[in-house]
Symmetry: C2
Subunit: 107 residues, 2 copies
């Protein structure tokens, strides 16, 4: 199992909209997340920052992420989410959410 921590900004005026969408997330999105082997997925907010924690239980992360990215309904969801967000400075080329470095883990 692989753990991931990711960071992105959220424009402050969009917080309520972002929360509302996620409280009524489309079933096709949650299904695709599960199908792509993501588990125990949480998103936290504080003061314009979003942090995501998730666990990957599949065998081919790249392939699963490519599958998710190719899904039309997921693309439609991202097209609504992306304008609400603001990727952080210093992220790698091609990143939207930025992968953070795990500096500690205890079971």
């Amino acid at each position: 199992m692989m753990r991931l921590g990711q960071l992105i900004g959220l424009k402050k005026e969009n917080l309520e909209k972002y929360k509302k969408y996620h409280s009524e997330i489309w079933p096709e999105i949650t299904s695709m997340i599960s199908e792509c082997n993501i588990r125990n997925y949480s998103i936290y907010h504080f003061n314009g920052l979003l942090f995501a924690y998730m666990e990957y239980v599949g065998e081919d992360f790249e392939a699963d992420m490519a599958k998710m990215a190719a899904d039309p309904k997921t693309q439609e969801w991202w097209d609504i989410m992306k304008p609400l967000q603001e990727p952080v400075d210093g992220r790698k080329d091609g990143e939207w959410w930025t992968d953070m470095e795990e500096v500690f883990h205890q079971e």
Copy 2:
């Protein structure tokens, strides 16, 4: 089970020291964390920000956190960690790590 997401700053010049301490964390600290019913505890870093994710499996979170805070070895550990960190603006009175708001969760 209760999930927590917490945020704090890390002074950039202290990153390597912080990582080194956590890679060689004292056994008394990990024992106390477990004893206080914290599980699946991860800390992530990006660009001077630390994000902590953990799960609480006990029955009395306040009491367990008070027990941890009263432990002399934990106090000793915190006395080393705190000067490396920088609490974020906008945190609540009395917070060191800031509790974030969970805006999404999917099992």
